[in-house]
Each structure stands twice: as structure tokens, then as C-alpha cells.
């Protein structure tokens, strides 16, 4: 579900796409399970900075992950949250290895968007 955020800038559209996918991730545990990587990428895209010169913010990622886990998790909420955070961390670590420490935050968002679309297609 959209959180009513106004998007702008080059990543606006992919963030709208992420809104749509996030709806699925929050709706059923089965969807989240089956498309786990896509859902984690969705969270990362959704929480990516909307403007230039803005850093990626892990605490915002955590908040959205908690929202997703609360929506579908039931008793498993904490485990789902941990799994998603862990996967998000792994993905970001891999991107850092690929892009290097000096890459701007835009490069990370661009790569996340690329992976998101690839997963969506698969």
C-alpha cells in the first residue's frame, strides 16, 4: 500500500512500481514467501532516497520491514522481520562489493531498480 509519499526525480516511477508490489508482499505470507527476494528489493526501492544528495537510510528500511512483517507475520512476525533484514543486508553488501565504496547513492538505487525489474520479469 502506498504510504502517501510524493515521489519525484528519476526513481519516482520505479518507486510507484514498488508500491504496487509491496501491496502483494503485505497481503499474504504465501506471496512474501514465494517472491521473497522481490519483496526485499521492493522494500529497498521504496525506502530509497527520493532526492539527490540523500543517503540510504537503514532505519527507514527497518521500519518498512516491520510493517510488512506485522501485516503478514502473525506469530512469526519477528522471524520474518529478521529474515528480511538479513536478506536486505546481504543484498546491500553484495551491491557494495560490485559498485565499490565510492559509488554515489544513486548508483545503488539504480542497481536495485534493475534487479527489481529483473525479478519482476522472472
Amino acid at each position: 500500500m502506498s504510504r502517501g509519499r510524493a515521489y519525484g526525480g528519476p526513481f519516482a516511477e520505479v518507486q510507484k512500481f514498488a508500491d504496487v508490489v509491496l501491496g502483494g508482499c503485505k497481503k499474504s505470507l504465501q506471496f512474501l514467501n514465494t517472491y521473497f527476494d522481490l519483496c526485499v528489493l521492493t522494500v529497498l526501492i521504496k525506502t530509497a532516497p527520493a532526492g539527490p544528495m540523500v543517503r540510504l537510510r537503514p532505519e527507514i528500511v527497518r521500519r518498512l520491514v516491520e510493517e510488512v512483517a506485522a501485516a503478514v507475520g502473525g506469530g512469526d512476525r519477528e522471524r520474518i522481520r529478521n529474515a528480511m533484514l538479513k536478506r536486505a543486508g546481504e543484498m546491500m553488501a553484495q551491491l557494495r562489493r560490485e559498485l565499490g565504496d565510492s559509488a554515489p547513492s544513486e548508483a545503488y538505487v539504480a542497481k536495485l531498480a534493475e534487479l527489481f525489474l529483473k525479478k519482476l520479469e522472472a
Binding site: Y7, G9, F31, F36, A93, A113
Partner: protein, 268 residues
Amino acid sequence: MNADSVAKSARRFCHQNMGSMHGEALDVFREGLRRFLTEGGYAWVEHPGPPPPSGVKILKNAHPPRTAERLCEEGFPLVYIAAVRRRDSSTPLEEACLRGEAVCYVYGDVEWAPELEDKCRPVTFYVDLKEEKKALEALLLYIARTRSLPWIAFNRDVLKVVGLCDAAPNICLTEEAVAKKVEAMKKQLAPQRLEPPKSPTVETSPDDTANVTAESDDTAETTTKNKGAAVDIDKPHAPAARLDPAVLELVRRCCGEECVSRLLACHE
């Protein structure tokens, strides 16, 4: 790795990276663009002033004008590109754009707006696209690479001109198409709820926090392991080795292709 250390490590790397729209980066972009155009054999001119107002926008959404204010205050120029396909090659590039005698593809990090006129120092590179498709494609590629932009950020009409929508349809997806896709994904899952798996599910270790277990009231689903695929986000499907094909088929049916690939990656 627990959630705290993940967050800590993500925070550390985030603090080390700054956006590429810092003033120095804009100067570097301008220098690099001059070099790229010269080495690429383009005919081009650099004009102080904003981009032509009636051009076809290369990006779907540039950053909003207010984001440029600080850079402008610091004295950095706003760089624009107008890639021009003229009907009459004798008309100067800038004039052809202004008079509407050319198709002008316009790029800028920041959307130009009249309120920036007093504060900012825009500069526009007019580039002659003689062989439209190839020249435009190379320019788009340069922009995507140097500005760290995914193709999805580019205007579909411009991507269509260079044939990128045919080559990679997912970069030209619309919001409606994504909504349809998600609906189809949901529908694909729906019947599985009525058919619990008939054989035992894939075994996983209970203490692996990377697992997401699906055990809702009306659903008996497989548990998937995320461990093996974790290191490679984009890992292609691994070949089916030693696992029972019937189990793989069951996992595929109940949990989807992604589960199979995760299971295979984990099993390796």
C-alpha cells in the same frame, strides 16, 4: 549476522557515499561530457542558458527545481543536453530547437523552471544527431552510466526510438502492466492454497533466521531456505543435481520457481 549489525553495516556504507549531484560532480560531468562528445565525433556547441522549452524529455522525471537551489547558490552550473535532429541541417542547432524545426531530446539532472533563472547558471550542450539512432543511443548510454540512472528512469518514447523497449521490455513497463503482473502472480498462488502438498516438505534448520516459514491457518506450504542464494541476488537457476525431481516439482508447484532456485542453490 543479526539485525543490528546489518543495520550498522548498512549505515556505515551509506555514510561513506554521497550523491553524485554535488557541485564538484557536476563540474566533472561537464568536463567528461565535453570529452565524450569530442571523442565520439559529435558536432556540438555549448551555450550558456537553459534548455529549449519544447524538447522531448529524456528522463521521465528529473529532480524537481528546488533541489538545485543550493548548488546554484554555491555557483555551480546546471548542465543540460539537447540532442538535436534537424530537418534542415543549415539551421543552427539552438535555433532549430527554439523554432520547432527539429526534434530535440533534452536531458538535465534538474527540471528547468523559470524560478531558477535568477539563481542558477544553466549551460546547454546542443548535440547534432546526424545518424539519429546510434548517436542517440550512445548518448543515452553515456547519461545512464555517468549519472547512475537505470533505464526505467528514461522516457519510454525515447527508449523506443533507439529500440531499447524491444531489446528489454521490462525497462519499458508501465504501472498498469506492473499491477497486472502482480495480480497474475497472486492468482498463480491462489489455487495452491487449496492443495496442500501430498509429500513431506523440504527440511530446513529451524534456527536459520533467513527462513520465512509459511504456516498460515489454511495453508500448508513449503519452507524455503534463503541461505545459498543469499550471496548472489541475481543468480541463475542452478542445474537440478541430486535432489528428487518429484520434490523439486512439488516445491515449484507450491512455492514457485524462485523457491526451487533457492533450494538448489542451498543444496549445492
